[in-house]
């Protein structure tokens, strides 16, 4: 039930400004922590700005959709929807400078496959990835726990697909519209384009579904307004403005979406190569060093990450050793 879900409680936000607030906060937090890495002194030149991050992530959302579409074996729609949810949620609390989107992208899809019970093994999964498959396996598996941790272990996603089915059943039963099944292609393309927007973080799945149905109806020169006002909301007219507003906002979001400019994204990616967190870059020396230390003696080497409490404890004990 969506009304009592964690999705509603923790992952449906009031407005776009709130989302922007999270993203800017993550960006400035990263810059603050890594200020020392910038030699030129011009922070804006060295680090990505929130707007650049947004653009980069938009490009990777396109990649994400392509990856899912080409996936072999073909994956059900709900896996795609869930993967997009995870991707968006992850970058609300993290910046792409910390974790490169191409790694998180694959991990999101992998976790979504599991959660939506679309059974693919990791070897089957990495067959869909170009390049070094062993490395990809390592990256996906090592990021898996990080991802679900960052999602706060809220893995259940309510996608708009079932609500859409519900609306179609209801329309077929109660309205006199001819052959509602012809709406399906339009509905599908609309839902696909909502993936590129933040609609799923701002609206309920049923609202997105209804928006898709209404949009499809207008494409087919049909009018379902009477269905909404006279059948759906007949007993709750006062709630109608809220719904109309939500549907309008979703449709505007979809309409206003623009594909990111390839050249700009390329420039941003170059910039990212310099300013990204080297500790999380699998090609960097720092990462390899950290990995090596983690594997050789996990017990007494403190984890690099300052968020681990172990680090504090072991530094205390080492201080004790020197004083003795």
């Amino acid at each position: 039930m969506y009304p009592v879900s964690s999705q509603k409680k923790s992952w449906t936000f009031a407005n776009e400004a709130q989302l922007l607030g999270f993203r800017v906060e993550q960006n400035s937090k990263y810059i603050e922590e890594h200020e020392s890495e910038c030699q030129d002194g011009d922070l804006e030149e060295f680090f990505l700005t929130p707007a650049e991050e947004r653009l980069l992530l938009k490009q990777y959302e396109v990649y994400l959709f392509d990856f899912c579409r080409r996936f072999d074996p073909p994956m059900p729609k709900c896996v795609v929807g869930t993967a997009f949810h995870y991707f968006k949620r992850f970058y609300l609390n993290n910046t792409p400078m910390d974790y490169h989107p191409k790694e998180i992208l694959a991990t999101c899809v992998f976790v979504a496959c599991k959660v939506e019970e679309f059974n693919v093994s990791i070897s089957q999964f990495v067959n869909n990835i170009k390049g070094d498959r062993n490395k990809a396996t390592d990256i996906v598996l090592s990021n898996e726990l990080l991802l679900i941790g960052q999602l706060n272990y809220y893995l259940t996603i309510h996608n708009p697909f079932r609500p859409i089915e519900g609306f179609l059943i209801d329309i077929k039963t109660r309205s006199n519209m001819q052959n509602p099944d012809r709406l399906r292609p339009h509905i599908e393309s609309f839902v696909d384009s909502t993936y590129y927007t933040d609609a799923c973080l701002l609206h309920t799945p049923s609202q997105i579904g209804l928006a898709a149905v209404l949009h499809a109806a207008s494409r087919e020169q049909e009018n379902l307004d009477s269905y909404v006002t006279d059948l759906l909301f007949v007993s709750a007219r006062d709630k109608l403005p809220g719904l109309i507003d939500a549907v309008r906002k979703i449709r505007i979001m979809v309409k206003q979406y623009q594909q990111p400019d390839r050249d700009r994204v390329k420039a941003i990616e170059k910039k990212l190569d310099k300013c990204r967190n080297q500790a999380n870059n699998p090609d960097s020396e720092l990462y390899k060093e950290r990995l090596r230390r983690m594997y050789t003696d996990e017990d007494d080497i403190p984890a690099e990450d300052a968020s681990f409490h172990i680090a504090d404890v072991s530094s205390d004990t080492s201080a004790m050793n020197t004083s003795q």
């Binding site: 509603k8 009031a14 079932r162 007993s235």
Partner: protein, 320 residues
Amino acid sequence: MEDQACPRCKTTKYRNPSLKLMVNVCGHTLCESCVDLLFLKGSGACPECMVPLRRNNFRVQLFEDPQVEKEVDIRRRILRDYNKREEDFGTLEEYNDYLEEIEDIVYNLCNNIEIIETNKRIEAYKRDNRDVIQRNKTRVGRDESALEEMLELERVQEESRKKELDELETEHKKKKARDKQALIEELMYSGKDAAQIVTEFAEKAEKQREEEKQLPPPKSSNEFSTGIKFGQTADPTLIPVPKSEEGPLFVYEQLIAITDGPTPPPTDEIESEGYITHIRPETQQENAGGFTSTMACERALQEALQGLFYTPTAGVAAGI
């Protein structure tokens, strides 16, 4: 078994496999032949500690360590007098103190600590508690006789059962002889084929053997050989299993479906209003799993309507 040797004649278990070590109240060992030799007159002194001993107090040593043997002996003697039970005391603490006193006494006597004083203590105790001791002694006697009675009863039962079996056996033998006789007579006087008669009789015998196999099993007893009954209500002396603390009982509460949207049609309307006609009927496999298309239809409709009333101001998410 390596070093079981008589301290006097130095015979070992190895040289004399039938060596029997004996022990007396003082806790020193002697082999059987030495006991025979030394205590020819019936009494004498222990060759080790010179304590006067009686021959008929010698027992076969059960424990390898004679010290343990001695302790067992002392304990038996002490417990003859210190025979109070838990019921004789007001509190558990008093009973525990009493048990501890016994242990003290036994320890002292075993290790020759303040023997005289300890013996005085025992004497005083005996004097003070004479009637209690006497009473408990008779009680012990009663318990023992009850046990003996039970054993006797069991023995009688065993005997009667054995007799039954014997009777059955003789009966069986007689029958076999009769059958044999019948076979011979048949062969002699009947005009049938001999081979056929033999097989007929063999079959008959086989059938009988089959029947005998299904003899009634020994009648089930409802007592252990110790006389403790089982299969009946628990012995009153056994402590009942402590009842675990139970929390408050489960109270069923009807699930309240929060829709936050228009009310979905109730289950009975799914079919009557024709919603069901717009959904694929369930396959046989799905039906076997308990799923019906009504459920799927209802769920889709519910999910379509859930959260339609949602407005951002109505519920502002707080992030993680």
